[in-house]
């Protein structure tokens, strides 16, 4: 344990935790927007996988990381549009349609990978960008300010989205549509348009989350996300549908995973306990939520399709 409690190891672990948390954070923020307006999207995992493959393939063919990120977002936008049509216009049952999108994304991403790429071909990974001055702060500098641009983007999105939700008219409309769409409708708010926008935005973030993961790893493989999309959905509840809460949840999850990894490397966790140790992020997340025991209500109209006059 003494080997762990050194500055260098602690900062490396924290940096690793933030890096692990970034894809969760992006996807979870996107899902938060959608859920706040009343749409449940269980297909985040599928969108993340498609975004991950798209961005990986872009880097493979062009070497352009910016373009790859844009491709990831674009794929998310397209999937968001499809999801919005299915969930908002066609008013399909959101639980099932989400699982359908998940299966489609899982299969399609792998299929395209098999056919277009085949053998694993690693590409350049996202470079870390050191923020001048701040990166040189001993300890904190290495931990916080030597991450990739997409990590910074993810973190900056938190106050941005919180601002949008709480201080703009658009945000108020989102919340109204999520709580009481009939009332919002009667006040002239276009329920469908708001939901379309949040779903499209949310899926764009999910696509970006997948792109972040793929670019951080520099590779794509079947089922690259390994359930990260579902964890992102779970973290929305942890965060009580508030961006800062989602940030807390993502960081908690990422940090615990990083600590477990580090302890395995240092031998603090013996090989025999390897499997059980891997449960730590999940268990601690549940415990944390129990302890905090907040009493926030979910958006009242969550997962219910809205039909005027119904």
């Amino acid at each position: 344990m003494s080997k762990f409690l050194t500055i260098s190891v602690l900062t490396a672990t924290a940096a690793s935790g933030i890096r692990l948390a970034a894809p969760f954070l992006l996807a979870s923020l996107g899902e938060t927007m959608g859920q706040r307006s009343g749409v449940l999207n269980l297909g985040v995992e599928g969108v993340m996988l498609l975004g991950a493959f798209g961005s990986y393939y872009t880097v493979l063919q062009t070497g352009d990381l910016w373009l790859a990120a844009i491709v990831g977002v674009a794929i998310g936008l397209i999937m968001g549009l499809i999801t919005a049509v299915v969930s908002v216009t066609l008013k399909a049952e959101q639980g099932i349609s989400g699982i359908g999108v998940f299966l489609f994304g899982l299969g399609m991403s792998d299929l395209m990978y098999q056919k277009l790429v085949g053998t694993p071909r690693p590409v350049a990974q996202l470079p870390a960008v050191n923020i001048p001055f701040l990166a040189d702060i001993p300890g904190f500098g290495k931990m916080l300010f030597r991450q990739s641009l997409l990590v910074y983007l993810a973190v900056l999105l938190v106050p941005a989205l919180a601002f949008v939700l709480n201080r703009t008219t658009y945000g108020t409309k989102i919340k109204a549509v999520g709580e009481n769409p009939a009332a919002a409708d009667s006040l002239g708010v276009s329920v469908n348009r708001i939901r379309y926008s949040t779903v499209i935005l949310g899926n764009a973030l999910a696509g970006l989350a997948g792109a972040t993961l793929a670019m951080e790893l520099g590779i794509f493989q079947q089922n690259l996300t390994q359930g990260a999309g579902f964890i992102a959905v779970a973290l929305v509840y942890f965060g009580a549908w508030r961006p800062w809460g989602v940030l807390a949840g993502s960081l908690l999850y990422g940090l615990v995973a990083a600590i477990v990894l580090q302890w395995k490397t240092l031998g603090i966790i013996p090989l025999s306990a390897s499997d059980l140790a891997a449960t730590a992020p999940a268990v601690i997340t549940i415990f944390a939520l129990v302890l905090v025991a907040r009493r926030f209500r979910q958006p009242a109209a969550l997962a219910k399709a809205y039909e005027r006059g119904a």
Binding site: G95, K115, D275, V290, R295
Partner: protein
Amino acid sequence: MSSKSRGLARHDWGRLLLSWFAMPLAALAALLIGALMLWALGANPVTGYRALGEGAFGSVDALTNTAIKAVPLVLVGVGICIAFRANVLNIGGEGQLVMGGLASTATALAVPGVPRPLLIPLVLLAGVAGGAIWGAIPGALKAYFSVNEILSTIMLNIVAVQVMNYLLSGPLIDKKFSGFSAIPQTKRLAPNADLPILVSNTKLHAGIVVALLAAIVVYVLLWRTGLGFRLRAVGLSREASSYAGMPVKRTITLALTLSGAMAGLAGAVLVFGSASHRMVTDGTATGFTGSAGFNGIVAALFGGLHPLWTVLSSFIFGGLLVGGNAVQRAVQVPSSLIVALNGLVVVFVVSIEYVRRRNRNRPLSFGMPQPVQEPSGTPEEVEL
């Protein structure tokens, strides 16, 4: 637009036909896109889909495989009927399946000598218990600590997989294989616990009977017992149920417990009806469950959250899954195509409900309870 106001419209045959055939048409549309994808991959779509039909329903063997594939879907599905109707979203089917499988396996390993008529119910009950516990935890967490069940069930899925890895590589491992080339699996479990084959020379095992019985039991539970009434009432309105004096927290806990119990039973059936008669892992939940935890949700929702219709929708969905594998073997396409195709079918079929709803002007929700609009809350109100 409302057809309510035009009585004659109800006999508009065009619309009626459309509404009858909407779902199969949607499935066909998805399959057509699949045909395009098959063709783009250089495979013959006709051969492929012939294999789908044959593999799913085209022979006694095929029907057996489909039925066996449907069994865990039915069991998980009827459990979902209980939970979702109580407005508790149980996404933890995978974990509950695993825990049920582990509990039943451990039981068989502990008491292999018990005579068959006792051992089979015993292991099945152990499966029920394992899954029930894994459902009770998130259930109690939701009822008493307001921990959202989607979060807790997803997290517990992760925990269950690692517990399985630990147990199957450690305490429960087949000693013959440990050490040198340790395979994470148990030894062949007591033959007395094998689910009996119903039709000789086939693989059709008693799991079918278990599934059908479970569906009937859940149907009776939901609509003919007091508990079922409370489950459905709580699903429609916690406020009203509480006001009526129902034990809401206990009911919510029970909803998830029962749902988990059904999934746990499915896990036990998977182990003791399996070809290998042992529990084995490849490190993932899906390797054991075949995603029955998620597919069961789809089956239940397509069955309108009604246990008896879930049986039929599970059979059909099972056919799609089994047939899909047959397509892969027949035209040698990557199995990921089949996964994508399954997803397409689900999305298309669930989307087409819109057409049907337009004809009946009633918001359709596959049976999901449409809770009474609660007054927008005060901060003290407990999370739903």
